[in-house]
């Protein structure tokens, strides 16, 4: 498992691995928002938590096709499926690698982009906390979408259509934590719900993903 994690991380970090593309996308979305809704700082401050969450979610979504597609093309997935490591574990590791290379940088970059959107001071802490708790769920749910569509050529749009509805609960609770934090309300309830979703998804989703991937590898 460690070897697989190290391999996935190395592949993502090397040239052509696409590391940083998600970050750049996140930055661009954040820059485009004031250009589209206008530069009034109080308006931006109000919508900043939700927008940063949405940007992080989209950046995560766009990097999903790299999660399995390359390994599918060169046959690595077939090897993984026949290896003694259960496919569920392999997919969990792949989701973890995806989170380390996409989710974690997004979490770290979010406060900087928060400055651009005039996020209120108490919001920074809660934004980071909510993204830190929520982005693993995005990666794990995304691995399910990737496993479903790995056999479809040019399945990017299809995957968005499948994955985005599944992101709804995570987005609602995550953005709610950030929003409540930014205006100084109590955040415990949505935070617990978000943590619950993330933990539940980490526990159960790999089985669904592995089932889908097995069908595709048949």
């Amino acid at each position: 498992m460690k070897a697989l994690l190290a391999r996935d991380l190395a592949l993502a970090l090397r040239a052509g691995g696409g590391f940083g593309l998600g970050l750049a996308f996140f930055l661009i979305v954040t820059v485009l928002v004031p250009l589209s809704v206008g530069p009034q700082s109080e308006l931006l401050a109000r919508i900043a938590p939700g927008l940063l969450w949405l940007g992080a979610l989209l950046a995560c979504l766009l990097s999903l096709d790299r999660l399995l597609a390359l390994d599918w093309e060169d046959g690595t997935l077939d090897l993984l499926a026949t290896s003694p490591l259960p496919l569920e574990a392999a997919l969990s590791v792949k989701a973890l690698a995806h989170w380390i290379t996409t989710g974690l940088p997004l979490v770290l970059a979010a406060p900087v982009l928060g400055v651009l959107l005039n996020l209120p001071a108490p919001g920074f802490f809660w934004l980071v906390i909510s993204l830190l708790l929520g982005t693993p769920a995005l990666s794990v749910i995304g691995s399910f979408g990737a496993a479903l569509t790995v056999g479809v050529k040019r399945g990017g749009l299809l995957m968005s259509l499948l994955v985005l509805p599944l992101y709804v609960p995570t987005l609602i609770f995550g953005a709610e934590v950030a929003r409540r934090g930014a205006v100084g309300m109590e955040t415990q309830t949505p935070l617990l719900m978000l943590a619950g979703i993330t933990l539940g998804v980490i526990a159960i989703m790999p089985f669904a993903s592995a089932a889908a991937l097995r069908v595709n590898l048949r």
Binding site: G155, L161, L162, P165, V168, F173, A211
Partner: protein, 255 residues
């Protein structure tokens, strides 16, 4: 080379499961389909005409209340169609009956149309009553999300060529989607307070809509249920024949 006959015949499935055999399923559905069509048409006609022309106007809502005869049954069927797809997907995963997978596939477009009818009639009613076509109310929002789930499910069926792979993947998606649809429902409830009134009908409540509206509504609901059953049976039959035709064509091409 001779094929040896098995000494004992394998036990034939009987009762409900015997209809997993496409031939028996088609025979049965052909026998009951005309009755179903007629019953649903009669129920819909009676329910809607009774509802539209022979019930009084509501004292506050005026005649707009009558959209209830389309709105409530279609909303009900939109949810139940997904539920039926969930059951059919489970049967496909567990027992590998092709008819079941095809029934789930056949139900999805019907369900999506029901969802659309519910959303559109709701918007038409909401315009004069709430003063807006659309509000981000929990019920409305979760219906929109359900609509997206339907679209994803149908798109996945369309995208995959091999029918068995498609059936497997859509079944898994249906199971996972059901869990997330329920989660979204509660998340959305948490996210915004509602404008929509509570349930119009429930079995355990003292107070439902008044009787004058209630009985035609029940007839209309029965009509929608029968219509849904008829459509799904009909479409499943079409899917079975389509697959058979493809198999014949493939055999022909091989010869």
């Amino acid at each position: 080379m001779s094929v040896t006959e098995p000494k004992t015949q394998p036990k034939r499935p009987s009762g409900f499961w015997s209809y997993a055999n496409p031939v028996k399923f088609l025979a049965l559905s052909e026998r009951i389909l005309p009755t179903l069509w007629w019953l649903s048409v009669i129920c819909l006609a009676v329910g809607l005409i009774w509802g539209f022309f022979f019930t009084p106007d509501d004292f506050r809502q005026g005649s707009t209340v009558k959209i209830i005869y389309l709105h409530v049954p279609s909303a009900l069927m939109a949810i139940n169609a997904w539920f039926m797809m969930l059951v059919a997907s489970l049967i496909w995963i567990v027992r590998r009956h092709h008819v079941s997978a095809l029934a789930a596939k056949a139900a999805a477009p019907v369900g999506v149309v029901m969802t659309l009818i519910a959303l559109v009639t709701g918007a038409i009613w909401g315009q004069p009553m709430w003063g807006t076509w659309w509000a981000w109310d929990p019920r409305l929002t979760s219906f929109l999300i359900l609509f997206l789930f339907y679209l994803g499910y149908i798109a996945l069926w369309e995208a995959i060529e091999d029918p068995d792979t498609a059936a497997d993947l859509t079944s898994v998606l249906c199971l996972v989607g059901s869990v997330f649809a329920v989660l979204s429902r509660y998340a959305v409830n948490f996210w915004n307070q509602g404008l929509h009134q509570g349930a119009s009908l429930s079995l355990d409540k003292e107070e439902n809509v008044a009787d004058v509206f209630y009985f035609p509504l029940l007839v209309a609901i029965a009509g929608f249920v029968l219509l849904f059953l008829a459509l799904v049976l009909y479409r499943t039959g079409t899917e079975i024949r389509l697959r058979r035709t493809r198999a014949l064509l493939a055999r022909e091409a091989r010869l």
